[in-house]
Amino acid sequence: MAKLSLMFEEKTVKEVPVGSRAVSIGRSPDNDLPVDNLAVSNYHARVYFEGGRLVVEDLDSLNGTFVNDLRVERATLHDGDSIWIGKHHIKVDASGDAPVPWDTGRKASAPRINETMVLDTRARREMLQQAAATGERVQFAAGRLKVPTLIVIGGRTDQKEYMLTNKLTVIGKSAMATVKVKGWFKPPMAAQINQREDGYYIGPGDKMPTVNGTPITGPVRLNDGDLIEVSGVRMNFVFRE
């Protein structure tokens, strides 16, 4: 019977057989093969038989599942393969299953300095592992996704609440605006809220908005609970869980 062995520095930590039922792997203790590491998602991957072949499937994990050197969403496993999850290594014993050597057949030539190059999968995996070790913030953020929301507390708009799901949000009278402001003499694009890598920024459009009463001339990062006023509309910017 096929089995999976969770390794830590060449030592077997835990072994589980793969039978007719899928083996689940993840950080949550209710997995068949729990892996206690922040770089591992709660329900990270599963391994099961399909049509006589052993298959590993990544469950949309944050840091990915690697078979040997290749990041996979779903892959057939062969005897002797290694599944890498975070910095943990799971050995695949699929005795009876013919081993197939894995080789991309492509060898990257040594890059010249200053030449743009693409990282191969091994280097990429190591980079991601290294990143995961220091990336606790990312893990926690993924666990409790917060949705930025605008709550209208004054003025006329087409909705009372807006979840900011797009990278670019426009507040104005335009038919294409996300927050549609109603009334005469309102500008098509009064202001904008843009998502950047470190948060949400409000910027002027045809009008100069205020944040907590202070007029802004350039992009200003929004904090939970900020009060925004523009074109006669008052809104609270909040992060909803």
Binding site: L119, R124, A131
Partner: protein, 279 residues
């Protein structure tokens, strides 16, 4: 919406060959920019292959809506967005297959950043570290994420933005066309507003010129080609260590208010009648 655009590519001050490639298809409002990599002139091959494949795929889809789509797409996307994403997948496969078939091309690859404006919708499809920027209401916003090692390290909090700028690893990409048989493409859809300015550029510009300088130049110079030339001149003044390519796209101001609605409406009706009469 009335759209005017211009693009310029330049060797820079250090390189001896230009591995960048771009194309503007005015009739479609399709914009494609690619930065190639790989020694012995193969970077040029890869970037040109990327641009040609994408333009051809999108152009052909205009007359053959049933043309095969490559890669995954989301059901909410417009046909143009799906097509553009499919074109990038196809470009990846074309470069990869060519490198597999020609050993001397091994290791060649390319970034690609594409934009397609259809009415008031902007579709963006992107792989690599070239960039798309939107200047709206005086605010310059980067629309694309860099698929580079240092950018990923910044996102994960390992490096600060300042450290990333100093890093010797800036040339290391995590994603590029031609490296693997399949690729993940970043796709986005946005609404276009009057007076928006879109800019596509390669890293040869963004490593030499700051974002405030880009915003200032795009606002000061209303002719798209001249704006691109000025940005390239600035990058060359700073050393021009890489090839530099810039595409600038300006969305015309829309007439607004009841006054222009009355008179603009009359003009549009006259134009329609004129066109009908001429046919």
């Amino acid at each position: 919406m009335r759209i005017v655009s211009g693009g310029v590519t330049d060797l820079g001050r250090v390189r001896t060959n230009n591995e960048d490639c771009f194309r503007i298809v005015e009739s479609l409002n399709l914009f494609v920019l690619s930065d190639g990599m790989g020694g012995e002139a193969h970077g040029e091959v890869a970037s040109e292959m990327a641009v040609e494949t994408i333009v051809k795929h999108c152009t052909e889809a205009q007359s053959d809506a049933g043309a095969t789509m490559m890669g995954n797409s989301e059901s909410t996307w417009s046909e143009k967005t799906k097509r553009l994403t499919s074109a990038v997948h196809l470009a990846n496969k074309t470069i990869y297959d060519s490198a597999e078939a020609h050993p001397e091309q091994h290791g060649m690859g390319a970034t690609v950043t594409t934009a397609w404006i259809d009415g008031s919708r902007l579709s963006i499809a992107h792989v690599g570290d070239s960039r798309a920027y939107l200047l709206r209401g005086g605010t310059l916003q980067q629309l694309t994420s860099d698929h580079s090692l240092v950018a990923e390290q910044v996102r994960r909090g390992i490096l600060t933005a300042a450290e990333a700028e100093e890093s010797e690893m800036q040339s290391v990409l995590l994603r590029a066309l031609g490296a693997l048989p399949d690729i993940e493409v970043d796709t986005e859809e946005h609404s276009v507003f009057a007076r928006d300015i879109l800019m596509l550029c390669c890293d040869g510009l963004t490593r030499m010129v700051t974002e405030p300088e880009i915003a200032g130049t795009l606002q000061a110079e209303t002719d798209p080609t001249r704006a691109a030339e000025k940005l390239i001149a600035l990058a060359n003044e700073r050393g021009g260590v890489d090839n530099i390519t810039v595409i600038v796209v300006r969305v015309g101001a829309e007439s607004q208010g009841w006054f222009s609605w009355l008179f603009g409406g009359a003009r549009r009706r006259a134009a329609r009648n004129g066109a009908a009469g001429g046919m």
